[in-house]
Amino acid sequence: MPALPLDEAGKYVAAAYLVFLALLLIYVSIMAGRLGRVERELSELTADVEARDRAREPEHVS
């Protein structure tokens, strides 16, 4: 097949590079979501530890 003219070839080249960019963005956004979940779990754990420490404090005073 003869080479496509630039205006027609450009669509295909843009589509290929956009596919790559889309895959990368989807991957990064999924990973960011997971990171958010880990951060939430860490906050919950920190709150649990603080609550436990507060509950123990009166024992140390007495």
Partner: protein, 240 residues
């Protein structure tokens, strides 16, 4: 531990990939035969090479798991294969776009390179299914590692067989008897390949760091809550 050095690595990856694609569009000449469409080559081929190397790396990590029985190696294999699967999806889509632009067809079933890559992709598509079907974590890691080793050995053999095949409809731009690509094209290709390999390593480290953080949080929760902590749900992903 895996997050160490991630920021400079990510910066280096971004710089290398940006440099590669600036060279692709503003410096490298258009191909005499295919014209502007050949620019897809600088994305499609590095992605394919990186994906295939990632599958082989997954096989090596699988072999290391079988040798050491350390779950860290199982996780390394899992992440390498997972990333390679994502790149392989990109390879199939960009390859299809390139095929339509240069051959007039989205897919050619009589072209060994295309079909063999699809076979490799479909083979690895069963990896997650295999993992998910096994509940016992130790057995899951063992079976998945055997799969990774066998499939990882199949990848270079498959590639070599295709190269030895008689039909050469697929463009052979590297190492042809007529001398291969001109200097500018080769340099740009090497930089694009380095960028893609760096991207793979960066994302691998990123996902490893994320999975390690999840495992650490789970271990902390277990220590704090003890038996009150609900059991982790069944997953294809390994646990550290």
């Amino acid at each position: 531990m895996h997050g160490k050095g991630l920021r400079p690595l990510a910066l280096l990856t971004a710089l290398t990939l940006t440099a590669a694609y600036v060279l692709v569009f503003f410096w490298t000449p258009n191909d005499a035969d295919q014209g502007f469409v050949q620019k897809i080559f600088y994305l499609h081929v590095p992605m394919a090479i990186t994906a295939l190397c990632g599958f082989v790396a997954g096989g090596i990590a699988g072999a290391m798991y079988l040798r050491t029985r350390s779950s860290a190696w199982d996780l390394r294999a899992y992440v390498a294969i997972h990333l390679s699967q994502i790149l392989a999806v990109g390879v199939l889509i960009t390859g299809s776009i390139w095929a339509k632009a240069s051959w007039g067809h989205w897919w050619l079933w009589d072209e060994p390179m295309l079909v063999s890559f699809l076979i490799v992709f479909l083979l690895y598509a069963t990896y997650q299914v295999l993992r998910f079907s096994i509940e016992d974590r130790e057995r899951q890691a063992r079976y998945a590692s055997v799969f990774a080793v066998v499939a990882g050995a199949f990848v270079p053999i498959n590639f070599a067989m295709v190269r030895m095949a008689q039909s050469y409809v697929h463009p052979r731009t590297l190492g042809t008897t007529t001398g291969g690509m001109p200097g500018e094209m080769m340099l740009t290709f090497v930089i694009a390949l380095a960028g893609m390999a760096l991207l793979f390593v960066t994302l691998w480290k990123y996902e490893m760091a994320s999975k390690s953080a999840v495992a650490q949080v789970r271990a902390l929760r277990l220590r704090l809550l003890g038996d009150d902590d609900p059991l982790p749900r069944r997953s294809a992903a390994p646990s550290l």
